[in-house]
């Protein structure tokens, strides 16, 4: 019988559970690329440029703020306000109100969540119903697809494509306006954008966001804008908030992350900001799923933001220093990938760069299945034979389109110099063996 589980019992007779226990909303969302590749990287003790997290310390002022909060006594270790600690929602409203050019009400327009991940979850659960279409621009951060599915929505994919030519920059990956327009139907509930983009590093320009905004307004669609890497733009690229465009505040949920902002991904503090008309529904999901976020971490993040707000735009600002530091790391990694014959696309922002592996030859042995896409096979070979971990970019595409785009691999460059040096050694050695 389908779904029957026959359990051995301590008491002699088997215990039959004859029905399917799990809910149907889980169907097709149980697989997860990270579980497989993190395990593989760990097994082979690879230099890990796979998963996106810094392997260096968060800034001292943040660690100190956290320690101060932890030793704060009193109610620092008890429940705080469910939708966000007062000092945190206040500073978020202040800072982002300034950036978006629209007054933000801290208690109405802001929801604090367990990382940007939970903000995304609350948004989809709050606004997407069975049969609603959600446009996802690919390549996309992999969680959007299962989250839309779990909410009963239908994913509609819209690819970024490298325009003809050298394609050396993430700015060369663009949307075709006519093609994008064709994706909007009467059933479209939302579009998800991510800028700076994971995995390409693309930083959408105002004109590109305007094309999206015009369509959102025309079709009365909600824009879900994942801006977790908003402070990480390079070579003068400017991060533009789609919520700041005319007609967009009222239909945009903007998502951010303390983990990415302060290089402390283990903090798991994120937020969703938007008109109360939309945020109130995210709050309903939040109060019926998690309810409260940890207090001390929120206090620490609030203090971190206050420190940065006071020196916004100044050279001592972490938001200035970090992108400068990362520019060097980005350039270093790009150079060493080129040594080995990969062709990196230089990212304008974010944590990652993708590299074209078409020109590279590798000898995948029997341990790597030939049925898998080229980029999966290359990454597994790279981990097992060269001790370097990366992520195959087709994992960030829909099943339909992933087959067409098998020649890119994603590397995270926000790592300590020693990690990047180790990667460089591996690449140099590989190049010398050719």
């Amino acid at each position: 019988m389908e779904g029957t589980i026959c359990m051995p019992s301590r008491y002699g007779r088997p215990i039959i559970m004859s029905r399917q226990m799990h809910a149907r909303r889980l169907e097709g969302i149980d697989k997860n690329i990270w579980v497989e590749f993190t395990q593989l990287a760990a097994d082979y003790q690879a230099v890990n440029l796979g998963q996106g997290f810094p392997d260096f310390a968060p800034p001292k002022f943040l660690q100190e703020a956290f320690c101060k909060a932890v030793s704060g006594g009193g109610l620092m270790h008890q429940y705080t306000r469910a939708f966000g600690h007062p000092s945190l929602v206040t500073i978020l409203a202040q800072l982002f109100g300034r950036l978006v050019g629209h007054e933000i009400q801290p208690l109405e327009d802001v929801l604090v969540t367990i990382g940007a991940y939970q903000a995304l979850f609350c948004t989809f659960q709050a606004l997407v119903d069975e049969g609603d279409e959600v446009i996802i621009i690919e390549p996309f951060f992999d969680c959007y697809q299962p989250m839309v599915k779990m909410a009963g929505g239908k994913q509609v994919y819209m690819p970024l494509r490298p325009r003809g030519g050298s394609n050396l920059s993430s700015g060369d990956w663009v949307l075709c306006a006519e093609e994008l327009a064709s994706k909007f139907t009467a059933k479209t509930k939302a579009i998800v954008i991510n800028t700076p983009n994971n995995p390409t590093g693309k930083v959408y320009k105002t004109e590109e966001l305007q094309v999206i905004a015009d369509l959102c307004i025309k079709h009365d669609v909600v824009c879900i804008s994942d801006e977790v890497y908003e402070w990480l733009t390079y070579d003068g690229a400017k991060h533009v908030k789609i919520a700041s465009l005319a007609g967009m505040w009222e239909r945009t949920v903007t998502i951010g992350s303390a983990g990415k902002t302060f290089s402390a991904t283990g903090l798991k503090v994120g937020w969703a900001i938007g008109p109360s008309r939309l945020i109130k529904h995210l709050k309903t999901v939040h109060q019926n799923s998690i309810y409260h976020c940890p207090t001390a971490a929120q206090v620490a993040v609030a203090e971190g933001f206050q420190t940065e707000y006071d020196r916004l735009g100044h050279p001592e600002s972490y938001f200035q220093q970090l992108p400068t530091l990362f520019t060097h790391k980005r350039n270093k990694l790009a150079a060493c990938l080129e040594i080995a014959g990969l062709r990196p696309t230089l990212p304008e922002g974010g944590y990652f760069m993708i590299a074209d592996i078409s020109s590279v030859s590798f000898d995948s042995d029997d341990s790597i299945s030939q049925d898998e896409p080229l980029d999966y096979r290359f990454v597994k070979w790279l981990i097992k034979k060269k001790g370097l971990a990366a992520i195959p970019v087709s994992a960030f595409y829909s099943p339909e389109h992933g087959k067409e785009v098998q020649n890119y691999v994603r590397f995270c460059f926000t790592k300590e110099d020693s990690t990047l040096n180790a990667a460089e050694d591996i690449m140099k050695k590989w190049a010398s063996e050719k």
Partner: protein
């Protein structure tokens, strides 16, 4: 002035009607610093110093500030496997049979989303922790309620009422199980009554679960807070129950750190794997330094399990005194509190105060008497309102000064 088209974005159906929440209203009122807050359940006592020290230490370790394992930080799931393996007297696989979540609340959510759907019925025992109902509804299922009922006290009984006097009618319970019953939720020790389900009561529930092939979601967040003469029993340890039970625990309640929001679900792999799927598609991972600190706290107390200097025992001893004191304060004012066998709440019939009942009474009490409590009707369905409307719930995991202030207010009530 920006003018856009009037947007018609409605909320998804799954949250229709779930926006109302009594806590949002009442915590707002009780936030006034002049109010003695015995309402929301959190300690105003400090947590044990070793646990906050463990967190301060974890925060200063660089790699503890980055992502950890999605289903639970290795040190924590290992510690949980150790503690609960001993308590349940069975080996528990830390990777496959444990999931770390955002509080006990997060475990309840993962459990519902993983295992409950449209067409299912979920049996809930009144009075219940209020989130069970909206979570069942959000999962698309139907809540089926059954009330604990006050057994008529023996007139010869000298002592007052206790939470043990609130029981389920076996026939009524059996009648609630249908072919659509997916699960029953139990909460022991119980919020708000403090009832600790006896082995016989748990056996009765088990028999029905097995007979109807239903699951059991056992909310045991107050598991360590049991008072003299009472023992917490895990329904998962009863024959035939491990394979169909998810047991939920909470670091917040265990270590008096409700603001840490860490909890866990423990159960058989074939059920926990579905909760893990929900986790990887909702939160992905919980805070690393918090998990590291809880792991260290568990290791420290595991070494002392059963001894008086184990925090789990010392907290219960401390709270027993507070429980008795709270009960005495209420009796002195002419009321008959229901003495809880466990947990950190006490419920009492306020009729002798000769005022209105229920939410109206509580709001008046907060405003006029500067004392906050929660009406027990917050924990029951419409149909049982009249059975519970006379009761309020008071939280006694509070400093002596807080209890002193409460005593003053109650003693001087008639003034």
């Amino acid at each position: 002035m920006l003018q856009g088209i009037m947007s018609t974005h409605t909320n998804a159906k799954r949250i229709e009607g779930l926006d109302h929440n009594i806590w949002v209203a009442l915590t707002g009122l009780a936030a006034d610093p002049s109010v003695v807050n015995l309402g929301q359940g959190f300690p105003d006592l400090p947590p044990p110093s070793y646990i906050t020290a463990a967190l301060a230490k974890a925060v200063s370790v660089d790699r503890m500030n980055q992502y950890t394992r999605s289903f639970g930080h290795p040190a924590l799931v290992n510690a949980l496997s150790q503690v609960y393996g001993k308590v349940c007297e069975r080996p528990i696989d830390p990777l496959k049979e444990v999931l770390v979540t955002v509080g006990g609340y997060g475990s309840l959510f993962c459990t519902m989303q993983a295992l409950v759907e449209e067409g299912d019925e979920v049996i809930i025992i009144e009075p219940y922790f209020d989130c069970y109902i909206p979570m069942v509804k959000m999962a698309g299922a139907t809540p089926v309620l059954i009330s604990l009922k006050l057994v008529k006290p023996n007139p010869k009984k000298q002592s007052g009422l206790t939470s043990a006097d609130w029981v389920l009618d076996p026939e009524e319970l059996a009648s609630k199980f249908t072919s659509r019953t997916k699960a029953i939720i139990i909460n022991t020790p119980n919020n708000p009554t403090g009832k600790i389900f006896t082995r016989d009561e748990l056996q009765m529930i088990s028999d029905l679960c097995i007979k109807h092939d239903a699951l059991c979601f056992s909310d045991e967040v107050y598991e360590w807070l049991t008072y003299k003469g009472h023992q917490h029993i895990k329904i998962a340890t009863l024959p035939g129950m491990w394979e169909r039970t998810i047991t939920i625990g909470s670091a917040g309640k265990t270590f008096s750190v409700t603001g840490w929001k860490l909890g866990w679900s423990i159960g058989p792999e074939h059920l926990v794997k579905h909760l893990q799927t929900v986790m990887q598609n909702t939160i992905y991972t919980c805070s690393t330094p918090l998990q590291e600190a809880v792991a260290q706290g568990l290791v420290r107390d595991y070494e002392r399990l059963g001894q008086p200097d184990c925090y789990f025992s010392s907290l219960a001893a401390e709270l027993e005194d507070k429980r008795d004191r709270m009960a005495a304060i209420l009796r002195e004012a002419g009321m008959n509190p229901i003495l809880p066998e466990g947990g950190y709440f006490i419920i009492v019939d306020v009729t002798p105060l000769n005022e209105a009942y229920d939410l109206k009474f509580v709001k008046w009490m907060i405003k006029e008497k500067k004392l906050a409590a929660i009406p027990v009707t917050a924990f029951c369905g419409e149909a049982s309102r009249s059975r519970f409307e006379k009761y309020i719930r008071l939280c006694f995991i509070k400093r002596d000064e807080t209890l002193d202030a409460a005593e003053d207010i109650i003693r001087n009530w008639k003034n």
